[in-house]
């Protein structure tokens, strides 16, 4: 190798080595700076968290001093307070929650939430809906309902959850509309209707009764029936009985049967027994499960006759229902030749041994 080429290679090597050292040094600096910033941010978070907790739960003097320290924060510093406060809000109730809502409202958080709901960005609209839901003010319902028909799923879902948090029963029909339009919202709508509580049940009953008359049932009716069952609403038994007996769609009949099982009234035994004797496995399964939950021994003959006569999922549900009936049901299973009877008994013995 000639001398100039060797010198060139050496220079290149030195340059590369120098660059590598610079790169490592830069990485070390970036990492150290990032760790420092993270530690500072964590300290700020902890400090804000401490002030919020003192303001909410501290002794009167401690609380007043923490409130004063929070109120003097402005701009970015206040936004960090607001972020933590909104994260805590849905997790608490009682006077602690009231105090946190006051803290946020006094600092103009509600106005900022409304402003967010009018933003072009779907993320900001979602944040606004979340904040309005967390503040729990019924005056926010019209704004939330206006946001509901959006084509952004994230916004729709946040609005549904927010309506559940605000707990205004007037929103029930619109929540049912939302699930009619978008099946992906089923779980969120059920959770929201559960959060609204017993005040939602008259609206759900009315909706279900109308759907039966109008012969439009399906998903919306099934959801209304499910939630009525989850609320254990005894006043809904007549409309649920009617739904089991004559709804056009099997999904609604099945949901109504399940709801009657959740409510657990003996008045439902006759219609559930009739449904068990039908020819729709989806409905028969739910009717058998419901009879087991109601625990009425008057259903024993119908359950015994149904065992071994239907689809395998029906047989299994019937055998499990007989187990739930206790002594008489267990005896019927002992005497039955169905393999599902033997399976249910074996499972029962295993569970008892655990």
């Amino acid at each position: 190798m000639n001398e100039p080429l060797r010198a060139l290679l050496l220079t290149l090597l030195l340059l590369l080595g120098g660059l590598a050292i610079l790169l490592v040094a830069a990485l070390v600096v970036v990492r150290a700076t990032s760790e420092l910033l993270e530690r500072r941010a964590a300290r700020r978070r902890d400090e804000i968290r401490g002030l919020i907790l003192s303001a909410l739960l501290g002794e009167p003097e401690e609380s007043a001093s923490a409130l004063a320290a929070l109120h003097v924060r402005e701009g970015r510093a206040w936004r960090q307070v607001e972020q933590q406060a909104f994260a805590i809000l849905p997790k608490i109730k009682g006077d602690t929650r009231d105090a946190l809502v006051s803290l946020l409202k006094n600092a103009g958080a509600a106005e900022r939430a409304y402003e967010n709901t009018r933003a072009r960005s779907a993320v900001r609209r979602s944040r606004g809906a979340y904040q309005l839901g967390a503040l729990g003010d019924r005056a926010a319902v019209p704004t939330l309902l206006e946001l509901l028909p959006t084509d952004h799923f994230l916004v729709r879902r946040t609005v549904v959850r927010a309506l559940g948090q605000v707990r205004d029963p007037e929103a029930v029909p619109r929540l049912l509309d939302a699930v009619t339009a978008d099946p992906a919202l089923v779980r969120d709508v059920i959770a929201a209707l559960q959060r609204i509580g017993p005040e939602a049940t008259p609206y759900l009953r009315k909706d279900l009764a109308f759907l039966l008359v109008a012969e439009h049932s399906g998903r919306r009716g099934a959801l209304a029936a499910t939630v009525l069952g989850l609320h254990g609403d005894i006043a809904s038994v007549p409309v649920l009985v009617e739904a089991v007996a004559r709804a056009h769609q099997s999904s609604l009949r099945a949901a109504a049967a399940e709801a009657l099982g959740e409510i657990g009234v003996p008045a439902a035994v006759q219609v559930l027994t009739e449904a068990l004797g039908g020819d729709l496995p989806e409905v028969q399964v739910k009717a058998a499960e419901a009879l087991g939950k109601v625990g009425a021994t008057s259903a024993l003959p119908a359950l015994v006759s149904a065992l071994g006569c239907g689809a395998h999922e029906v047989d299994r549900a019937v055998a499990e229902a007989l187990v739930k009936l206790g002594g008489p049901g267990m005896q019927a299973l002992e005497e039955h030749v169905s393999p599902y009877a033997a399976e249910a008994l074996a499972l029962r013995r295993m569970m008892a041994a655990v």
């Binding site: 907790l53 909410l56 739960l57 933590q84 849905p90 997790k91 608490i92 109730k93 009682g94 006077d95």
Partner: protein
């Protein structure tokens, strides 16, 4: 003053519970999951454990079952803290040996009262 282990993977809730119980004069050991709660109970033998039900890894139900199966820890009273409010969940909580049950969203003041009541019952 009682020694209390508090287990919740949600830092917001854990901090609230810890603050409230410390304010009531208790010595609190905070942890983030069920396995750590059982370990903390072995280490400090607390007068009470407040366990969240839904935690990663070992749930509050499992942690409670674990405590009840160990003769040296079986006597520790347990309060379960959970978002699951169905009757069957509450029944399951009592079946695994919990002494009380607080449903989220919760009132810190109510939790402190329940803690006081359970400690009084257990004579701590």
């Amino acid at each position: 003053m009682a020694k209390i282990v508090v287990a919740d993977d949600d830092a917001d809730i854990r901090d609230l519970v810890v603050f409230k119980l410390q304010q009531s004069g208790h010595d609190v050991v905070p942890v983030g999951d069920g396995a750590a709660a059982v370990e903390a109970c072995r280490d400090v033998l607390p007068d009470l454990a407040v366990l969240d039900v839904m935690m990663p890894g070992m749930s509050g139900f499992d942690a409670c079952r674990e405590l009840r199966s160990d003769p040296s820890l079986a006597g520790i009273p347990v309060i379960l803290l959970t978002a699951r409010a169905q009757e069957s969940d509450i029944e399951q909580g009592f079946n695994v040996g919990a002494d009380d049950y607080v449903v989220k969203p919760f009132s810190p003041r109510e939790l402190a009262s329940r803690v006081a009541a359970v400690l009084q019952r257990s004579g701590a």
